[in-house]
Amino acid sequence: MTGSVTGNDCDVVVIGSGPGGATAAHILSSAGWNVIVLEKGRNHLLELTEPYGPMGHFSNDEIKFTRRHFLGPDPITEPRTFRRSESDGDRFLTGHVNSLPSTVGGGGVHADGKLPRFREVDFSLRSELGGVEGADVVDWPLEYSDLEPYYAEAEELVGVAGEAGNPFAAWRSSPYPMPPGADMYGSLLSGAAALRHGLHPYRAPTGVNSVPYDGRPACNNCGFCAFYGCPIEAKGDPVALLRRALNTGRCQIIPEAYVHEITTDTSGKKATGVRYLDLRAPVDNPGGPPVHEIRSDYVVLAGGAFETPRLLLRNGLGNSSGLVGRNLMFHFQTMVAGGFPERLWGASRGRSVTHLHDDHIVGDKAQDVAANGAGLPWLRGGIVEHGGAAGPILESLSYGSNQHHAASMRASALRERLWVFTMQGEDLAQPNNRIDLDPSVRDAWGFASGRVTYRPHRHEIATSDHVAPILESVLRDAGAEWTAVSTSPPTNENDPHPAMGHAPVSYHIMGTARMGDSPESSVVDPSGRLWDIDNVIVADSSVFPTSTGYGPTLSLVALAARATRLAVGDPLPPTAPAKP
């Protein structure tokens, strides 16, 4: 596979092995295509030889997963930069910025697997609710009904545990493949209080086995869920999809393969394959890492909404619209913490989050009044996750050096007695919010680092300001003795020391290669291919035209399944709501 070759090495190269790339690899290899998956990061997920068993690298280890860059990317070799606007100069800070894991399995490895679907209205915000000044609110080029069969397929493949408990949920053609797992004690308290406030909490659809499923065991509630790889493979995403792909015998996964170029023919309108750096070679290899080339009929781009536009911009590809990297969206995170008199065990037992409510997405009269007061036509928040806190090292760091450190840790006000609502607020697309190439910061291999330029729209701040007091009130009613609000990014950007830092900490990154109906106003066509190069499929959350208030993973898996099924000529038939 080294150097120049004649003929093609495979039918398709998939760049990135996260949830989107894994889905593409599964669908395409199952359809008989020969697939090579190139992953920039290392492999800790599964053996790459039969029977593709677990590597045993994941463990209940706070140091490894939260203090030592185990899942990558390491900001020393792969720095990223951030600024709020051009008035910050070339950059405001350099280092760790929205660094989703760079490893076989991608962001699926560290996620706690909350996998909600979007709702019907999310696909048509512009036509149903209208635009917002200063934002580029658009309709998706497809509807919920177009995606429903693929949502059902995604839930089946990943293994989602859930139930029909959300009154606002979109229609479904089939039940969840598994019942929900164990409710966390804290969520029973916060859920009951939410009900008393007229809210509608429900058991979160979760990509974690509640019963043995697909050859993997049920979750045993170890508590190391968000930010940890699962030691027992109870999390389905992405190991289930990658293992299925490998089992076809037509898929090869190559880790430590950094794709730096999508090659094209002389017209520039057809991709011919990729070139990648082999990072397995010693660092002192003369002339840098060896470059390998793979030729293929198709390329699937699934590096995530940060790396995908970075690669396209570096190569000058796919950007006739000028929109590559633009309309970058995160979720505006509002974290409302409550301190309880007793231990809730939310930091150490269960799936990190077990309940959600959607009420601040759906809205009500008070939310309309708040919108009016802010001079906005509407406000849309996001799912509120009812969840626990993090491990003892993080708690320990938060107390600072003082005489009472040991006593504070035993009292555990900020860990075992803490319960947290996190709202993943809808972030409106703005063309000036973008990923581009930093003018001077480089990664270890000499390529321009990705740079985030991002400032929230006042819609996000107004929504957060409206919802936070409601969540504080619910937590008080649940039994909290005190509450505190923090947001990411900060609502006041003049705050010199914001609690969550200046750059958004959200790993939900979207919109940087938006999908649309015309090549002038979008990067990707409704079938998931670059308008400019129709044998390149984009299979990650770059394609989202809006962020919605829901976690992106299930939707990007469904979109990747749809795009690749369309490519192999095997789309799923339309579905209808299941009879109750």
Binding site: P54, I232, I393, A407, A444
Partner: protein, 173 residues
């Protein structure tokens, strides 16, 4: 075992860690629990092959399963480069910090120690505090949290695979 520190530096490091993250009658201080050894092992990670940066898995053996945390995970070439760079920076920070604390640090009164600590760099105090917290409340495999006493003090089981928790333990108070 090879150490990055002299015997007197290790003593000073233990002492300053107990000053920064002090213990009491129920919880050990960060130095007492092995914080200096944690830092020494981190700075000396590349004296081992594989480097002792990432402990193995999936189980420690404390709750059943194999005792696999000491099967340290192989690092990639570029990961090694990043970690050597990081460790070189920390080594300089510790060297300068210990120099500023002085040879007589352990003999000073608590108030004098506090004063002396103020004369070290912000970076030293910050790195020392972070490593102190990691050592005290992280897994004992990394050299700190001796006999998991800090975990016992906070009623924390640490790693629980393959045992986990029952549904009842998750849902009941």
């Amino acid at each position: 075992m090879f150490s990055n520190f002299t015997a007197s530096q290790l003593v000073a490091l233990r002492c300053v860690l107990d000053r920064v993250i002090p213990g009491d009658d129920l919880t050990p201080g960060a130095g007492e629990a092995g914080g200096a050894e944690y830092i020494d092992r981190l700075l000396g990670a590349f004296n081992f092959d594989p480097p002792q940066i990432w402990a193995g898995g999936p189980t420690s053996g404390r709750r059943g399963g194999a005792a696999a945390f000491d099967h340290w995970i192989e690092m990639g070439e570029w990961e090694k480069l990043a970690w050597r760079t990081r460790i070189d920076q920390w080594s300089l920070v510790y060297e300068a910090g210990l120099l500023a604390l002085g040879d007589d640090f352990v003999e000073l009164s608590p108030d004098q120690q506090t004063e002396r600590l103020k004369q070290t760099s912000t970076e030293f105090r910050s790195v020392l505090y972070e490593h102190g917290c990691e050592s005290l409340y992280g897994d004992p495999i990394y050299g700190g949290n001796r006999d998991a006493k800090a975990w016992q003090a906070i009623d924390y089981r640490g790693d629980v695979q393959p045992e986990g928790y029952t549904d009842q333990e998750v849902s009941a108070p």
